[in-house]
Symmetry: C2
Subunit: 690 residues, 2 copies
C-alpha cells in the first residue's frame, strides 16, 4: 500500500513544473525562461556537433556524456565524440559558428534551448558551447524513476573576461592530479584563468633542462616536468581555461638563490688584515630553501647582469611551455632589506638615478618585459610593480586591502586611472578561511568611485587566490571549494545577483556535484576524521566540526614556524572549514527564537544545546583512545558547560548567575585550542544578551 | 569527575603491556618477541641511516617520517633525509649492509629491535629496511595522550620471492595517480612485483614515438606517456617494486589490429569474375577497438613477417622504459578461429610442420624471445605459452582453475615438473568479487603433490590480478583492497599463518591505514552513495550495502555488452564489496543463537531483522527522489518481508507458514536485482532450517 502511494507521488512529481528558484545553477545565467514541458533522458541519448568549432568541444561533449551517464546510470550507447555531424538526428545539437581562441575578451556567450525531445546549443564558439553544457548538467532534474531537463531558454554571457583561480604549488607542492581536478571544477563554474604560482621561497617547481640546479637544489624532488606542464596547459585549453604561470621575482627569492646564490643581494662583509692595513671584502651569502611561512629577505640583485642573464634563459625555457599571452612575474613583498645593506646595489641606484627601492624594483621589472615580449608574452604582476614608468601593457594584480593597512582594492582604481588593465584578488583570498559572504559581496567594480567607461573596461575581473602554507594535497580542495563557486558567480553573473540565501541554497547542490569531478572537499573530511579518531566511530567529531572554523586571516601559524612546508596537515583545524553549517543553522534558530519565544522556536535552540552537551561527552570518551582529540576538549567543555547553564535558563526558567554565564561565554570565544574557533560564539552572545 | 576518571584510565593504558595478538601486523612477521617497555614518540624524533644502501632508503625513510607525522600530529623537525649519517644520535637507526637490487631472490630480510629510547633496523639492504619501516609503522600504539611503539624484536623475511599485483589498464584506463597510490599500498604490504597489463582488445596504453598510430587509433587518448612510464618505474623502484609490463599477443589483438590491420589473421574472401573463370582474392579485414568485454577473435598473423617486424620495433621502443628483467607477452585465450579460416596460415602450418594451433602459437612466441633477449629481458606469459619447445628461461603464469574447467593451478605443477619457473594467479583473481577467505587459503605450494626441492624452488610466488572490465579509477581500489593484503600475507608469511579470525581482525586496521596512502576504497563509497541517493542522507543505503555483495565470478555483465569500457561505474553494485561486514556479523549471531537460544543470543539475531525492515522502509522513502535506488527495492523488500515472518516466529513464537517462508527465502537468493546478491542468504537458510 505504501509502495503504491509512493508510485502515485512519483508520477505526480513527473508532471510537476519546475520553478526558477528550484534550479541550482551557478553562476546564475544572465537570462533564463522556463517554458512548459520536459526533456526526458533515455539510454539512446546522443550528441551531435556542427559548425566550425575547435576540437575541444569533442572532448567537452564526451565528458558531458560521461557525467550524465554516471549520474543517471543509463549507460548511453554513444562513446567518444570525435568529429562533426556524427549523428545528425541526435537529440542534443551543438552548433558553434567559429573556432574559439583562449584569451581575453573572447566571446563566451551561448544560447541553450530545451524543448520536449530536443536540446539546442548555439554559441559563437566552442568556448560558449562548453559553458552551455555545464549549465545543461546543472539543469538536471529527477522524479522517482527518471531524469529529465525542464524546458527552458537560457541566454548567457560573462560579466567579466578574467575569472581566475590561483593555486600556490610552491609552499605545499600540489601534484598534477590536484591541478587537473581543480581545472575541471573551474570549468564547471565557468572560470577561465588558472594562475599557477610555481616559484616561491619554499620551492622551484618547474623542470629546467638548462638549469637543473633549480630543481636539484630547490625543490626536494617536488616539481612538474615540462611534459606535465604542457599536458596541463593542454588539459586547461580543452576546458576553455588560460594558464598564467608565475615566477615570483625579485623578492620571495630563497629557492632561486638556493641554486644560484651568486645573484643574491645579501653580502657578507669580511675584514681581512693583511699586514698594516685592514681590507674589506664581500662574500657571496649562501641561501637555503625556506621551510617556514612568512615574508623573507632573500632577493635577487637587480644590479647584477648575471641576474638578467639567468632570468632571460629561464624565460626562454619556460615561456614556450605555455600557450597563453600572460606571464606573471610576482613582484610582491620585496622589502629591499638586502638591497639597503649592499654597497654595490646602493651605488647602482645612485648611478641610475633611482630614488628608492620601489624605483629600483621598477628598473628590474622593466628588464623583464623584452624577455617576455620575445616570446609574445605580456607581463602581469602583483600591485607593487605599478609605477609611472611601468609599461601600460602590464596587468596590475590588485591584492592589498585592510589586512595590509590600505583601503580595499585601492590599487585597482589607481591602476585603471593610470591606464593599466587590472585584476582584483583582494577580498578573494580563499586561504584566509573567511565565510563565503565576504567573498561573494566583494565586487571588482568599485562602488564609491566614478570611473569612465574606458576605465571600467580595464577592470578585467578577479581571481580567487589559494596560498598553500596551510593546505596539503589532502586538504586544498576544501579550502578552495565550494566558496570559489561564489566568486565565480560574482565574476560571471549580473551584479544584481547578490541574494545570500539563494547562494547558500544553490551552493549545497553545487558542492555535492563537484564530487563527480574528483574534488575531495567532502570525502577527505571523513578520511581525516578517521585518522584523528584513531578509526573509532566519530559522529561527535563531525558534529563538533560543524560549529568550528579554522582560525582566520593569518591568525593560525602566527610565527610561521609551527607548520613546515613538509608538515602533513591532518589536524581537526584542517578538517574544519568556513561557513560551519550548524553554526549558520543555530544562528537562524536564535534569531527566530528572539523574535518569537514560542515553544517550537525554543526547541530549535535547545536541541542544539543538548546536542553540544552530548558532543562533549562523546568527544571525551573518544579521546581516551585518540590523542588528537585531546586538544578539542577544553573548547567542547566550555560549550557544554555554557549550554547546560542556558538550558537551565531557557528550558527550566531558572535564573543563572550572569557572571558565570559571561565567563563561560568568553571561554567559548577562545582562540587557544586546536587552532579553531567556535563559530557559534556570536549567536550565543545574542542569546545571552537578549 | 568523569574527566578525572578518564585520565586515570589513560595513565593505566600507558603502562599496559601490549600482547602479540593485539598487534595488527600484516603480513605477519616470521618471528616476533615482545619485550618489556615502550618507545614513546616525541617531536624531536629523528632517523639516521648508515651503511651502504641504495638511495631509495632516503625517500623511504622520509615518507615514513611524514606518515608517522600525519598520524601523531607531532610535526617532527626533521624534514627530508638526503644522506648518510645526518644525525648520528637519532633515536631510529637504520643500517643496511649493501645496495639492494630489484629482482628475483634478493635478500629482503630485516631485523627490527625496539627498546625504550632506541629503535634499530638492521638489514642486508635497503629493500629489507623498507619492509622494516612498514612493520614499524604497523607497530604504532597509543594511549589517550601519546603514541608509542612497544618494545620488541622482530626478525623477518619473505616466504616467496614473487609477491605481485597485476592491474589491467586496458579495459578501463587507470591514470597515473591510481597506479602510484596502489604502488604505495603494495609497498605497505611488502609486495614487490607490479604487473602492468598495458595492452588488450580494448586499448593500447603506451605512447609510441615510432608507431604513433597505436595510440592515435587504439587508445581514445587514454595512454601513458613514455615519461610517465619511466616515472612510474622509478616510483616503484623507490618502493622496492619491480615492474613487469605486459603486451598481450597474439590474441587479445583488437587494439593492435585497429592500428595495423595488415598483420591480422582474418581474411575476407572476394570472388571476382573476370570473363570466364572466377578468381578468389583475399582482402585485409578492418578491425575496431573493442568496447565490450569477453574473448574476441582478433589475432596477430604468425605467418606474416611484418608481424615480427612490428613487434620487434615495438619491443625496441618499450623495453628500455623498464628496468626489470621480465617482460610479459600475454599469450592467453587465443582460440585461433581466424587462423583456422585463413588458407595462408594453414599453408604456413603445414610447411613448418606445426601440428596444431598450440604449436603455431609456440612458434610465434619463440620468435619473441630473441627480441626480448636483445634488451636483456626474459619472457613471461600466461600458461598457454607452455609447451615442450618453450625456452626454460620463460616464467609460466598459472591462471586457469575450476572456472576454466581444469584443476586449480594444474599448470603450476606441470610447469615446475617441466623445469619452468612459475607464478600462481589462479585463486588470486580479486576482480571476481569473492570473499577474502578463498584467496587467503590458496597457497602457491600445492598440497597434494610431491615436489622435489628444486621443483618447489621454481614456484616463485603469486600475483593478485585485477582485471578492469568492471572497475573504474573511482572503484578499482575497493576491488583490490583490503583483500589483496591477505594475498600479500599468504605470499610473505609462514604457511602456518592461516587463522581467519585473526586475519579479519587485523584487516580492519590495515584497511583503515591504507587510507593514508591515498587508497580510496573507503572514501569513495560515500561519494557513490551521495550520487546514488541524489545527495540525500543515505544511512539505509550504507546499511544495505553491508549485507549485499556484487555478483561474483563472471556473473555480472554476462554477455559483456551491458557495461562498455567507457561506462562510468556508479551503481550500487559498484559500491558493494565482498566480505559484506554485517553479513559476517549476522552469520556469527545466527551460529551463536543456534547453539544457545538464550534471550541475549536471540536479540543479536532479531536486532538485525528489525534493522532490515527499517532499511527497506527507508530505502523506499529515499527512492522517491532517487531513481538509482529503485533497482534495490525488490531485494530489500524480500528481505524485509522474510524478516517480518522470522520475527513472528522467533520473537512472538508464532507459527508461520513454511511455504511462505521458503518462498521468501528463495526471493532473497535472487541474482536478478541491481547486480548484487544478498550475502545473508545462507545464514537465513540456516536459521529457517534449524
Amino acid at each position: 500500500m505504501k509502495y503504491i502511494f509512493i508510485l502515485l507521488i512519483s508520477s505526480f512529481l513527473a508532471n510537476a513544473q519546475v520553478k526558477t528558484d528550484q534550479l541550482n545553477l551557478m553562476p546564475w545565467p544572465q537570462s533564463i525562461n522556463l517554458t512548459q514541458g520536459t526533456f526526458v533522458i533515455g539510454k539512446g541519448f546522443k550528441v551531435n556537433i556542427t559548425g566550425n568549432p575547435n576540437s575541444r568541444i569533442f572532448n567537452g561533449a564526451t565528458q558531458f556524456l560521461r557525467k550524465l551517464d554516471g549520474r543517471t546510470g543509463l549507460f548511453f550507447n554513444q562513446g567518444f565524440i570525435t568529429g562533426l555531424n556524427e549523428f545528425p538526428n541526435a537529440e542534443l545539437q551543438i552548433n558553434c559558428v567559429q573556432n574559439g581562441k583562449i584569451g581575453l575578451h573572447e566571446d563566451e556567450s551561448y544560447r541553450l534551448e530545451i524543448i520536449s525531445g530536443k536540446i539546442m546549443i548555439n554559441a559563437t564558439s566552442d568556448l560558449g558551447a562548453l559553458h552551455a553544457l555545464e549549465t545543461l548538467l546543472q539543469m538536471l532534474q529527477n522524479n522517482s524513476t527518471s531524469y529529465y531537463f525542464p524546458a527552458a531558454v537560457i541566454e548567457d554571457f560573462p560579466r567579466f573576461s578574467w575569472r581566475g583561480l590561483m593555486i600556490d604549488a610552491a609552499r605545499h607542492f600540489q601534484p598534477v592530479d590536484v591541478i587537473k581536478r581543480n581545472l575541471d571544477a573551474m570549468a564547471a563554474m565557468k572560470m577561465n584563468v588558472f594562475h599557477w604560482h610555481l616559484v616561491d621561497d619554499q620551492g622551484w617547481r618547474i623542470e629546467m633542462k638548462k638549469h637543473p640546479k633549480l630543481t636539484e637544489l630547490a625543490s626536494d624532488g617536488n616539481f612538474y616536468t615540462q611534459e606535465e606542464i604542457k599536458n596541463i596547459v593542454k588539459y586547461a585549453d580543452q576546458r576553455g581555461i588560460q594558464v598564467v604561470p608565475e615566477i615570483d621575482v625579485p623578492g620571495h627569492g630563497s629557492a632561486i638563490l638556493a641554486a644560484y646564490p651568486e645573484i643574491g643581494s645579501k653580502v657578507v662583509m669580511l675584514n681581512v688584515n693583511s699586514g698594516e692595513k685592514e681590507q674589506q671584502f664581500t662574500q657571496v651569502q649562501s641561501y637555503a630553501l625556506e621551510r617556514n611561512s612568512g615574508i623573507f629577505t632573500p632577493t635577487l640583485d637587480p644590479s647584477n647582469p648575471k641576474t638578467y642573464q639567468l632570468l632571460s634563459e629561464i624565460f626562454d625555457e619556460v615561456c614556450p611551455l605555455f600557450s597563453g599571452k600572460y606571464f606573471h612575474i610576482g613582484g610582491d613583498e620585496n622589502e629591499g632589506k638586502d638591497w639597503d645593506s649592499n654597497p654595490k646595489i646602493q651605488e647602482f641606484k645612485k648611478k641610475n638615478k633611482l630614488a628608492n627601492n620601489h624605483e629600483l624594483q621598477t628598473y628590474f621589472t622593466m628588464q623583464l618585459i623584452p624577455m617576455l615580449k620575445k616570446h609574445n608574452k605580456e607581463l602581469m604582476g602583483w600591485e607593487e610593480i605599478m609605477t609611472k614608468n611601468m609599461s601600460k601593457d602590464a596587468i596590475i594584480h590588485s591584492w592589498k586591502g585592510t589586512n595590509e593597512g590600505v583601503a580595499t582594492g585601492s590599487s585597482l582604481v589607481n591602476a585603471v586611472k593610470n591606464g593599466y588593465k587590472t585584476v582584483l584578488s583582494n577580498g578573494y583570498y580563499v586561504d584566509l578561511m573567511q565565510g563565503v559572504e565576504s567573498h561573494y559581496l566583494n565586487d571588482p567594480m568599485p562602488k564609491n568611485t566614478t570611473l569612465s567607461v574606458e576605465e571600467k573596461a580595464r577592470i578585467l575581473g578577479g581571481e580567487a587566490t589559494m596560498w598553500s602554507e596551510l593546505a596539503s594535497p589532502m586538504t586544498i580542495d576544501s579550502r578552495i571549494w565550494p566558496r570559489t563557486a561564489a566568486i565565480a558567480e560574482r565574476l560571471w553573473s549580473n551584479e544584481n545577483v547578490t541574494d545570500l540565501s539563494s547562494l547558500r541554497k544553490r551552493m549545497k547542490t553545487v558542492s555535492f556535484r563537484l564530487e563527480e569531478l574528483g574534488i575531495t572537499h567532502i570525502r577527505n573530511k571523513a578520511v581525516l576524521f578517521r585518522n584523528i579518531s584513531n578509526n573509532q566511530k566519530s559522529e561527535a567529531l563531525e558534529d563538533f566540526s560543524n560549529i568550528c572554523e579554522p582560525l582566520k586571516i593569518y591568525s593560525r601559524n602566527i610565527d610561521g614556524t609551527e607548520y613546515k612546508t613538509y608538515s602533513p596537515l591532518t589536524l581537526f583545524a584542517d578538517v574544519c572549514t568556513p561557513d560551519a553549517i550548524d553554526a549558520l543553522d543555530f544562528d537562524a534558530a536564535v534569531n527566530q527564537y528572539l523574535k518569537n519565544k514560542s515553544i517550537e522556536n525554543q526547541v530549535l535552540v535547545t536541541d542544539f544545546l543538548k546536542k553540544w552537551i552530548n558532543v562533549n561527552s562523546n568527544l571525551m570518551e573518544l579521546s581516551t583512545n585518540a590523542p588528537l582529540v585531546q586538544p578539542l576538549l577544553p573548547l567542547s567543555k566550555s560549550l557544554a558547560d555554557l549550554s547546560e547553564q542556558l538550558l537551565l535558563m531557557i528550558d527550566k526558567k531558572q535564573s543563572v548567575n550572569p557572571t558565570v554565564l559571561k565567563d563561560l561565554l568568553e571561554q567559548c570565544n577562545s582562540k587557544n585550542h586546536a587552532d579553531v574557533e567556535l563559530a557559534v560564539y556570536k549567536s550565543l552572545k545574542k542569546l545571552i544578551q537578549a
